[in-house]
């Protein structure tokens, strides 16, 4: 190779490198925009809200006096609503996912169902609120209750559960199914004894991430008529006399964290803004905690199984 050719080669490489460098700079800048905005938001909120975060804040009802106001009804409401959501969405979602993946015939009908389920996850949540208002509140007369809210959010979470369930069980190699079948296991035995136990880690992870999304949902709950000012707790689910357990709380009116926040944000006085910030910190912490649990479960259950 002559010196001249070599120079040409060097110039070519330098030019190729140049575009690479441009991209790296651009990539880092993009990343910073995202991270810095997010961090700024979180830090700003924390600084605003931190002075209000106290035991009193968690154990008080909302009030007209900002220093007495708290999020008791809101966090209890959020927890109960999410509980209903989980109880409704998990079994239905997992069962649908298993049916679609393992039993449903792979034909045009299956394709249509598949496309629809995937698209359901992308529908704006307020549409679910409208649907729930018509179905649960007006037709089924469930009222503007915790039950209605939980069921509404479960509609929202359901596609996520179905899709993650399908992906999780699709990840299990066919050789495992064949091994079970060759021993004489029925399809259901294969699913129950093998497919589900080996994929439950991924399924749970998906469910928790779905629920974490539901925790922050506001629009559909406002649509079904969640109140912004609730100064009482729902009936306790546990009773001191027989049958020790009660479901009256399902019919109670409720508020949830994001709605409580929204209420405070819309007040003119700045003191309530710090209440809103404090509630925001708690809300972010709740969702982050749920995501952490999801990561933990995935780590624990996946570590044992490597295909």
């Amino acid at each position: 190779m002559t010196i001249d050719n070599l120079h040409q080669l060097h110039r070519l490489i330098a030019r190729n490198r140049f575009w690479e460098k441009i991209f790296i700079v651009f990539g880092i800048l993009s990343l910073l925009v995202g991270i810095i905005t997010l961090l700024a938001l979180l830090i700003d909120m924390t600084i605003d809200g931190l002075p209000r975060l106290s035991w009193q804040f968690f154990t008080s009802f909302p009030s007209r006096k900002y220093e007495e106001a708290g999020i008791l009804s809101a966090w209890v409401g959020t927890c109960l609503v999410i509980l209903v959501t989980a109880i409704a969405a998990i079994p239905i979602g997992i069962a649908s996912g298993i049916y679609l993946e393992e039993y449903a015939k792979k034909n045009w009908l299956g394709d249509i169902i598949e496309i629809n389920v995937t698209n359901l996850a992308g529908i704006p949540s307020i549409i679910y609120g409208l649907l729930a208002l018509g179905l649960f509140v007006e037709q089924l007369k469930l009222g503007r209750s915790i039950l209605t809210a939980g069921l509404t959010l479960s509609l929202l979470v359901l596609p996520i559960v179905i899709v993650t369930t399908r992906e999780a069980i699709r990840a299990i190699p066919n050789s495992i199914r064949e091994a079970a079948c060759a021993l004489g296991a029925s399809k259901w035995q294969t699913i129950w004894d093998h497919i589900l136990p080996y994929s439950i880690g991924s399924i749970l992870t998906g469910i928790i991430i779905g629920l974490a999304r539901a925790v922050g949902e506001t629009a559909p709950l406002i649509t079904i008529g969640a109140l912004t000012f609730i100064a009482f707790l729902p009936d306790s689910p546990f009773k001191s006399e027989f049958p020790y357990i009660s479901f009256n709380w399902l019919q109670a009116e409720f508020t949830v964290m994001p709605i409580q926040m929204f209420n405070w944000v819309s007040r003119p006085d700045p003191e309530f803004q710090s209440n809103a910030a404090a509630a925001g910190v708690v809300l972010v912490f709740m969702t982050l905690a749920m995501n952490a649990i999801a990561i933990f479960i995935r780590y624990r259950l996946r570590r044992r199984i490597k295909w």
Partner: protein
Amino acid sequence: MVENHPSQASKFKCEVKNLNFYYGSVRVLKDINLSVFSHQVTALIGPSGCGKTTLLRCFNRMHDLYPGNRYTGEIELDKINILAPWIDPIEVRMRIGMVFQKPNPFPKSIYENVAYGLRVRGQSQRSAIDETVEQALRNAALWDEVKDRLYDLAFNLSGGQQQRLCIARALATNPEMILFDEPTSALDPIATASIEELITQLKEKVTILIVTHSMQQAARISDRTAFMYLGEIIEFDRTQTIFSDPTHRKTQDYVNGRFG
């Protein structure tokens, strides 16, 4: 084909009659006729892609797991056609065990792997399961290596141990016949030797049908050998005859390593 005299009734465990198999519209097995002798080792040999695995998986109706697969013809197990639509494939798989080419233990403990077939059969008595698990592991020549860690994850075993575990898993259910699909193709010579010895001993209890790539292996362990080529059985005879004095030119070329 050999005729079915009553006196010969116990001679054949399985008889394949005019079997054709289709993956969708592709015909992969063509008019297969084969008699699997009771308590003998029958080997299927032939070049890659000739349909050995496909034929083997017809015997426990593994093809039923996937849509679009189709059989015509018959496989008689003790004179009953197991390909008939009214026969439940699960019944067939309860009677005929299978060991796959790639070891495929469940991600459970060693013990649970072997016990699973018993659980499927409704066994729940702990002591009976313990006993069968131990016996199966002994028969698969694995007991001494794993007896102190029965509750360890099966994935922690070596490849050869995993394959012997899969054999133990099949043995534990006490099948009438076992199908082996190149059980030693992923193993080193020592593990291969132990599995070959195991297969030779097993034939006292069960009938064995084995696919193998290695002609030496077929010669060492089998009593009968079928040579397959492009979806057909070219020749089926005593193993000795196939290797020393085959009738067909193709068989001769293959066993002498001239192609395949």
